[in-house]
């Protein structure tokens, strides 16, 4: 496989341990090029760790990562292909947006300062004031302009909207969508909320408790998950073609969110198409139940 048709992201058995805690483990993913991927998961699930591994800011404890066919490393060719915006959008506080652009021009071989100035002007972001005097939304836009000015092939954004108000979020997403529409850019945006990203993204990585649960096109995720309602009975009696993600038992009824491995045969079950958020929440809750062992027993006993 040549670097040109290598997937945007390919990880095999990727893991990262800090001290005795695994921040990420058994992470094997493949994301095709040109996708806009939502990297979702609860806080502490390993999203930041994964992104840092992908841009070479950390080195893996186990396994390996390839981004556009290249191992993330301290190499000017690799660094030129990535655009990374860290959590909380770190900028040099006393420098203005214009000075950041100057800096970028000095630190990169290719640099589209004109395009960045145009973007900032269109958003009416003052170019000459220290960025510490700008609003959170404006700083995020400066950060996005900086990574776009690199003209990267893949953009990795770590919770860029976490601190933004709803209006600023919408503007940021509009900017991002516009930027992506212009080229064949691959994008990964992390968030602990899917809501913002659902309209923009076409691919999804779900991390819970430091492991990947889903990595697929959003359409496929929707197509392979169903909510089934039926008479109360034990989970073990469910069709072999189904994997139960989450079950809710009431006195009379069982409500299961399942992943389809084949068709639902039993006509007794009523089948509903769930929303994406329902599916993701089911996975996240499942993970919480595994973590809190006694809770599971309580639920069963009731």
């Amino acid at each position: 496989m040549t670097a040109e048709d290598a997937p945007a992201i390919l990880t095999t058995g990727l893991g990262k341990r800090y001290g005795s805690t695994w921040a990420l483990q058994d992470c094997s993913l493949s994301v095709p090029r040109g996708r806009i991927t939502a990297l979702v998961g609860p806080n502490g699930a390993g999203k930041t760790t994964l992104l840092k591994l992908l841009v070479g800011l950390s080195t893996p404890t186990t396994g390996e990562a390839k981004v556009l066919g290249e191992m993330p490393q301290q190499d000017e060719t690799f660094l030129a292909t990535i655009g990374y915006l860290a959590q909380d959008v770190p900028l040099f506080r006393r420098l203005s947006a214009e000075e950041h652009l100057q800096m970028g021009a000095h630190l990169n071989h290719q640099w589209d300062a004109a395009g960045a100035r145009e973007r900032l002007a269109a958003l009416r972001i003052p170019n000459d004031r220290p960025v510490s005097t700008l609003s959170g939304g404006q700083r995020a836009q400066v950060g996005l302009s900086l990574v776009l000015a690199k003209r990267p092939m893949i953009l990795l954004l770590d919770e860029p909207m976490a601190a933004l108000d709803p209006l600023a979020r919408r503007e940021f997403l509009a900017s991002l969508t516009e930027a992506v529409a212009e080229g064949s850019l691959s994008v990964v945006v992390s968030s602990h909320l899917l809501h913002d990203l659902e309209r923009v993204c076409d691919h999804l990585i779900l991390l819970t408790a430091s492991r990947p649960q889903l990595c697929d096109d959003i359409d496929d995720v929707l197509a392979t998950h169903r909510v089934v309602l039926g008479p109360r009975r034990k989970t073990t009696e469910v069709e072999p073609g189904l994997t139960v993600v989450k079950e809710t038992q009431t006195d009379r009824q069982a409500r299961l969110l399942v992943r389809l491995n084949g068709p639902v045969i039993d006509p007794e079950w009523e089948v509903i198409e769930p929303g994406l958020e329902d599916i993701l929440l089911a996975y996240m809750e499942q993970d919480q139940m595994i973590n809190a062992g006694p809770m599971t027993e309580l639920r069963v006993a009731r």
């Binding site: 840092k52 841009v55 800011l57 950390s58 080195t59 301290q74 190499d75 000017e76 660094l79 030129a80 990535i82 655009g83 990374y84 860290a86 959590q87 909380d88 770190p90 900028l91 040099f92 506080r93 006393r94 420098l95 000075e99 100057q102 800096m103 970028g104 000095h106 630190l107 990169n108 071989h109 290719q110 900086l146 690199k150």
Partner: protein, 247 residues
């Protein structure tokens, strides 16, 4: 990187340059008879390397780690290695220039004030002239950089840099420096009219042990060498911390 270094540190550079100009003017303006005031000023320059270590060395990397801007810099189109080299080179060059300016000022001034020149092998005058001020400044800034690369926080980096710098300076002055070369011992009698002999009975002879002033440059060379070796080790540590550890 030069642009970024200048843009990030120009206020500090201009502040230090202004302080040096002010010191020069004060030395020029002070009446040359006012020995006390001038001595105070000159001895105050002993503290300059410490200040450089605290305010240039320690925050150099620690501030970027603390603000998270290192991850911005490390994902631009240059390698971490080049980023670090620019930072280190800039800070060490600035430290050396500042140390050189101090020693030049003091040396120039001591030519007009012979007491400082004659006693220059003594602790104190020794520390503010010759080559050692440059070595102290380079050591202090290297120490700050290394500590900052380990702790990645400004305040701990400054505190540890200050403590270690003072400890090293004191230990070297008090314990190591007297042994650079074996001191000369000499029996002197009252015929030589030494002041010290007025304290002892007439006709007795006294054994005095001392380092002759002619060894000034030898001592300067040895001490400079010690501090530069320490500085090299500290810079090596900083490279290791930055290149081998995650962001």
């Amino acid at each position: 990187m030069t642009y970024l270094m200048w843009r990030l540190h120009r206020i500090q550079v201009l502040t230090v340059a202004a302080a040096l100009v002010a010191l020069t003017i004060v030395l020029l303006v002070l009446p040359s008879e006012d020995k006390l005031a001038i001595s105070i000023l000159v001895y105050a320059t002993i503290g300059v390397p410490l200040l450089l270590g605290l305010f240039w060395g320690a925050p150099l990397l620690a501030k970027q780690f603390e603000d998270g801007t290192h991850s911005l810099a490390w994902t631009q189109g240059i390698t971490r290695h080049r980023w670090l080299t620019s930072n280190v080179a800039w800070a060490l060059a600035a430290a050396a220039a500042c140390g050189a300016a101090i020693t030049a000022l003091v040396t120039w001034w001591s030519l007009a004030h012979i007491s400082l020149h004659l006693s220059r092998i003594s602790n104190g005058p020794f520390d503010v002239q010759g080559m050692v001020p440059v070595a102290y400044a380079i050591f202090a800034v290297s120490l700050g950089i290394a500590v900052g690369s380990v702790f990645r926080r400004i305040l701990p980096a400054m505190a540890i840099t200050g403590a270690v710098f003072i400890a090293v300076r004191v230990v070297i002055v008090a314990v190591v420096r007297p042994h650079y070369l074996s001191p000369i011992s000499k029996l002197v009698s009252d015929t030589q009219g030494q002041d010290i002999l007025s304290l002892v009975p007439q006709g007795s002879r006294v054994l005095i042990t001392y380092q002759p002033a002619t060894r000034f440059w030898a001592f300067q060379g040895i001490e400079t060498g010690i501090y530069l070796v320490l500085a090299v080790a500290l810079i090596a540590l900083a490279y290791r911390m930055v290149l081998k550890h995650d962001a």
